[in-house]
């Protein structure tokens, strides 16, 4: 047995990171936020206490997302709360449902 670090493959370079940065940029631009896109913690809640967005912001983001990725968000899909749980979850949702 070797005590060397086993040559497991590193997780594939996060395919979502480019999209995460792009979506963060879209949010900052759409909402005129005074933060750098890179400073948004992907795990932090977007709503309420986290980034502090409210329902009007969520509507703005939904518009930008529908235009850019062809994803029409729906509140009655029960996924709404999860989607805006964090930037990462929003990006995951876009990845799964994007049409462009």
């Amino acid at each position: 047995m070797s005590d060397k670090v086993s040559p497991l493959r590193r997780p594939a370079p996060d395919g979502g990171s480019a999209l995460t940065a792009e979506v963060a940029g879209l949010i900052v631009e759409a909402l005129n936020l005074d933060v750098k896109p890179a400073d948004i913690d992907p795990e932090q809640p977007l709503y309420g206490e986290g980034l502090g967005l409210d329902s009007i912001d969520v509507l703005e983001i939904a518009l930008v997302v529908s235009k850019r990725y062809g994803v029409q968000l729906r509140a009655d899909s029960e996924e709404n709360v999860r989607i805006f749980g964090s930037l990462r979850k929003l990006v995951d949702y876009i990845t799964a449902h994007r049409t462009k």
Binding site: N32, D34, V35, D54, I56, L59, K67, R74, D76
Partner: protein, 401 residues
């Protein structure tokens, strides 16, 4: 009874139950912890009717019953003088100001509304506004109850939700909404099923947007003008006329620079918070809000009220809210407020958390600027231009709400 039901049907059932029992519904526009504390001071016996499993409102709670409602033999007759509800506006001193709403006057108002909207009987009303907001209370709940229309229980939010909710109901269909949602509908490129009428209120709708909505959705669009204090008092079809036409019996009068409304269904003469130009014969033009007032997506407050809340935070030495530059207006047409604060021992997170406890989140400052002192002039006043210049030049630790 604080009727906090999100489902419009359940809200209406709660309203009816209170009416039948002679209980008064309390309808504040927001449920922040501070508002709930003030509500308890206003009505110590208040309980909260909720249809939410984990309702965070700090009041004794009555859960909306899971069992089906029983049919009532006869529709109860309600005395027109019966007090139905208190709605609230934010006073400038921090305490909410209650406004009484009685059954007869509320009904007179929405019967006129149905006429003015030209609604045939039996419309299905889909609304994007909450039933607790005065406009939603009148234009979805009461409009349906008083005129034999049907109200839709859900409150669609995203453009795709609005289209789906309209599709689920038969014609004639009415969409009761706001400029924020209507702008989003147009921007999202969504198709609507044939909708017989779209109603907009809470803020003026840009003329161009009104034209676009009527053409795109092949419908009529009517704007309603009113306030929490007066309820709805005027309407217009913006693609056809610039002037608003008052409800019959309601009159406006000029007192110096102020415009007051009275008569008709209005409970008490009320100073309007907008600049109105009277044109005779019950007509007027709307020229925007009075400078001190804030209207963000239908939630109204005043700079004086927000300043009071900001300055009541322990550790805040001085602070002031102000209107942002128009350039910051967003895609949905919503302009936020900004604030400067002198609070050397606090950081943005603590100031925002304290504000979040006191005011509706739409009023959280964007940006919130920390400064060494406010640009007060010799008389202690804060010229708006000085605040804007300060905000523009500020390169320090700005933050978002």
């Amino acid at each position: 009874m604080l009727n906090a039901c999100a489902d419009r049907y359940r809200f209406a059932v709660g309203l009816g139950a209170c009416l039948a029992r002679g209980q008064v519904s309390l309808l504040p526009s927001t449920h922040t912890p501070e508002v709930i504390r003030q509500l308890r001071a206003f009505a110590p016996d208040v309980v909260c009717l909720t249809d939410e499993a984990a309702c965070p409102i700090a009041l004794p709670q009555v859960g909306y019953p899971a069992t089906a409602a029983q049919a009532v033999g006869a529709v109860p007759q309600v005395d027109p003088e019966q007090l139905v509800a208190y709605v609230f506006t934010s006073g400038s001193t921090g305490a909410p100001v209650p406004h009484r709403k009685s059954w007869g006057r509320l009904n007179a108002c929405v019967r006129e509304e149905s006429l003015r909207l030209g609604l045939p009987g039996g419309c299905a009303i889909v609304a994007t506004v909450p039933p607790q907001h005065m406009y939603g209370f009148e234009s979805s709940v009461l409009l349906a109850l008083a005129n034999g229309h049907a109200l839709c229980a859900e409150r669609p939010f995203y453009p795709a939700d609005i289209a789906a909710a309209l599709t689920r109901v038969p014609r004639p269909r009415v969409l009761v909404s706001t400029p924020v949602h209507l702008r989003a509908l147009v921007a999202a490129g969504i198709q609507l099923p044939h909708t017989d009428l779209i109603v907009s209120s809470t803020a003026p709708l840009a003329q161009q947007l009104a034209v676009e909505i009527e053409q795109r959705f092949a419908t009529r669009l009517v704007e309603i003008y009113g306030s929490t204090e007066t309820g709805e008092i005027a309407a217009r079809r913006p693609t056809q006329e610039a002037h608003w036409q008052l409800w019959p019996g309601v009159t406006l009068s000029q007192r110096g620079e102020e415009t007051w409304a009275q008569g008709g269904h209005i409970e008490e003469p009320t100073r309007m918070s907008d600049v109105l130009e009277l044109a005779g014969a019950g007509r007027f033009l709307l020229h925007g809000r009075v400078a001190d007032l804030v209207n963000i997506a239908g939630k109204r407050s005043s700079l004086a009220y927000l300043n009071h809340q900001l300055n009541s935070i322990p550790g805040v030495l001085d602070g002031a809210f102000f209107h942002c530059d128009e350039a910051r207006t967003s895609q949905t047409g919503v302009a936020r407020v900004a604030a400067c604060v002198v609070a050397p021992d606090l950081d943005a997170a603590r100031v925002l958390a304290a504000l979040r406890d006191r005011v509706d989140p739409v009023f959280l400052p964007r940006p919130l600027l920390f400064v060494a002192r406010l640009p007060r002039n010799a008389t202690g006043k804060l010229p708006h231009e000085a605040l804007r210049a300060l905000a523009a030049s500020h390169s320090g630790p700005a933050t978002v709400a």
